[in-house]
């Protein structure tokens, strides 16, 4: 199981990411608040901002330059900020934990 956890208002939402390309899609399919995914993953909208809380061992998805730029438009960015569309669902994603802005 590719289980990932979205923390929404302090409550864990544990979701199966199987079958999705990235964590924005997982959030959108599960009506996670604040995640819109308006541009479909082209990094043009900044509407899938999340805070990465912990990544499983072996999960490697560093922030790219374009993503850094888009993270400037989101509200309350931190060192942990990511665009969920840039977090792929791969073999090592299970156990990943992130928090959505409130």
């Amino acid at each position: 199981m590719k289980t990932v956890t979205f923390v929404v208002d302090g409550v864990d939402r544990v979701l199966d990411a199987t079958g999705h390309a990235n964590l924005m899609q997982v959030a959108v399919e599960n009506d996670i608040p604040t995640i819109e995914g308006e541009c479909g993953g082209d990094m043009t909208c900044g509407t899938c901002h999340v805070y990465l809380e912990s990544t499983p061992e072996g999960y490697d998805a560093p922030r790219g330059a374009d993503e850094e730029d888009m993270l400037e438009v989101v509200e309350a960015p931190t060192e942990a900020s990511r665009l969920a569309c840039q977090l792929p669902v791969d073999e090592s994603v299970g156990g990943l934990r992130l928090r959505v802005p409130t």
Partner: protein, 422 residues
Amino acid sequence: MTEVNPDERSVVNEVLIVGAGHAGVALAVALVKADHPGTVTLIGDEPCLPYERPPLTKRLLYGTSAVAVPLRSAEYWERSPVVLRTGERVVAVDPERRTVRTAGGSTVGYGSLVWAAGGRAAACGLPGEELHGVHTLRDHGDLTALRADLTGARRAVVIGGGYIGLEAAAALRTLGVAVTVVEVAPRLLARVTGSVVSGFFTALHRGQGVDVRSGTGVAAILGRDGRATGVRLGDDTTLPADVVIVGVGMRPTVAALVAARARGDAGGIDVDAECRTSLPGVYAIGDCARQPNPWSEHGGAMRVESVHNAGQHASAVARAIAGLPPLDPAPPRFWSTQYGRELRTVGLPAPTDEQVARGDPALGDFSVAYLRDGRLAALDAVDRPRDFARAQALVAARWCPPDPEVLASPDRDLPRLTPAAT
């Protein structure tokens, strides 16, 4: 005192969304996320599940797969409390009884009606428009028909040099089809951008082998045995073509609301900042809604055709239905991809704006800042995502660049403003 029919009383919280495109789906989802207490019904006239429109003129046209990209999976809709009705067209609205009627003859009541019906590709009105081989490109059915016709096609003429026409031209070049783009205005993309960006895209297409003819009208689409064979231009030149693509804009689908006496006309339904029409309990959102726009040249009412606008409208109506105050509007934004080059726009460039280029369009990545009364009104960024990102807050704040040198220096970043709360 008005007598209230018990059936009507029970529907006060029922939201009926007509149109299952980006705007309609975004609203349905927003209402579900907000735990809306009543039923949400989403009626769309296309037979398939709601899908993403932007890929239709891009990878679905030139790629290996033409399968629509669903906005949500089939499982999502099965799980969702939203009642999704596909393949049904709403043909009449009764604002007194608060009901709509579908083409199939069923009547659906509403507490709030949200008209998100979008529009249809505009007809070009030319002789020969009805011939086989002549296509518009607005929905997935159009895409399927066009792709079927592209098998074996060698030459295409694209009528209209806007986003749709140019993205289609780029896709067809990628497929190896010889393409001519005919645009009646003096330059490409004249309605949506300035002369610098128009010049860049003209050169880009020509560099890819497209025959770009601006300032050129079309007199007729020619055909034989019911099939298009080419077009005749205003100057009597004939261009042979196996396929003709007409990309001359869209016409909003608003007849039923106009007939119900909502304020507006064939050019759009007039709405306020919260997307309310002149009819009680009736909203209009997305491509078909005409709204005062603080980012337009004179602040006048206009329709905005974009995914971003659809989302903004959906969010505004979700808040209005929940009784929440409106948020400050964000500047419009748009994007277009052609031959792998990404144009991203924030704001609404106007013909009279002063254009300041950041970088040389002839050399590659560049942006154009549009100044209106000395303030940043809009920005086009071609493969400069940082400019696009920073310009959103700057345009929203109507930033006044203190030093024009900074603006014109591509190596010096635009200042970073803290984004306004959204």
